[in-house]
Point group: C2
């Protein structure tokens, strides 16, 4: 199976370019919870997700985190290969949220082809624009949405991704996702409990009233 | 004068591409305070600043603003031509902070050339990566820097841009830049006044102690 055909522009590359990618890309796997790319580390390479789920986040100097976006099957992580572009002046960290298999494309090979292939260069722009849109959404969330909306949004999104109303996640982990202290998360979850929207037990949040949460996100 | 040579990749375009740009780009000017591009409006086109200063910002549903980045001479605004890429799923507004002259490049012409020219496609990626880096910096500011640091940072940056320690700017305008209510700005400026860092008069903020402000940004 040639996973490189997952690239929508694969057919627009010439034989030499295709062969360069084929001979350099490697399939790798990583266990849930492990770190795949560390912001300040070297250029890991482009990551093309084959199965599983990755989380990318930014980290503050004192260790706080905020989730930027998630990567699912066929998604590409560009910023783990930030050396392909001079103007990428920020660091992200990538960890596996589930056991994940991925194709790793060496940065130098990708860069070499991108520099002469308009289709690959434009595809790269589109990926970046898409991630940029995710982060702009986040800016709006952080700047302008009150925390109850953001937490309700997060819980509904999690339930959707996991396909269950029983979420196994700690308050601290949610805080890391949303860039808020654990205490703020716990307090709002207790408020949601009192409203009959969720119920809490150790390490688990059970969603009791999806419509109610959805109403909060639309306030 | 062919302002299109401001594009670093001008020499890498062929004659046909150069002529298409030459025959379609037009010089325009706009007065200080006027709006050049309105987020939800149509695709204005690529803006190449010739002189003056533009401000780009995002707006919340209830009218609050946050400055994303400024554009100076030779800077390009890509997101005023968001129709060149499918994945740009957010809106920005662009206004003139000073009387500004700019070259307006029609979106469809730029897109047409970008699709076949690897140099122009890669240049476009670099611009986007650079703006992305600006916004990631902003996310860190908003998420993790306390407001005193952000305000001190803003005042020093303004003084630097304007080349004067006497800033003619209202508290409301600063609030719009930083995404905070006017009251928060006024309160912190009074704190700075008490610390001997600035002095206030109607419509003016005078910086009295640059080193002191710089110390706050490094707290």
């Amino acid at each position: 199976m040639n996973y490189l055909t997952y690239l929508p522009v694969w057919d627009k590359l010439d034989k030499i370019q295709q062969n360069k990618l084929l001979s350099s890309a490697v399939v790798r796997s990583i266990h849930k919870g492990k770190m795949l790319h560390n912001g300040s580390a070297d250029c890991t390479g482009l990551i093309l997700v084959l199965s599983g789920q990755l989380r990318t986040f930014a980290t503050s100097e004192d260790g706080r985190e905020i989730t930027l976006y998630r990567l699912f099957e066929r998604d590409i992580c560009l910023f783990s290969a930030s050396c392909i572009m001079n103007s990428i002046q920020f660091d992200i960290t990538v960890t596996a949220e589930k056991d994940t298999e991925f194709l790793l494309i060496p940065s130098d090979i990708y860069k070499e082809i991108m520099e002469i292939s308009a289709p690959l260069a434009n595809y790269t722009s589109e990926i970046m624009a898409s991630r940029f849109s995710d982060v702009m959404w986040l800016v709006e969330q952080v700047m302008w949405k009150s925390f109850d909306k953001r937490l309700a949004d997060f819980l509904l999104n999690e339930a959707n991704i996991e396909g269950t109303n029983t979420l196994k996640i700690t308050h601290e982990a949610i805080g890391n996702h949303l860039g808020n202290p654990r205490e703020v998360v716990t307090r709002m979850l207790k408020y949601f409990t009192n409203e009959g929207l969720v119920s809490l037990s150790r390490g688990t949040i059970e969603i009791k009233n999806k419509d109610g949460l959805a109403k909060i996100t639309m306030r």
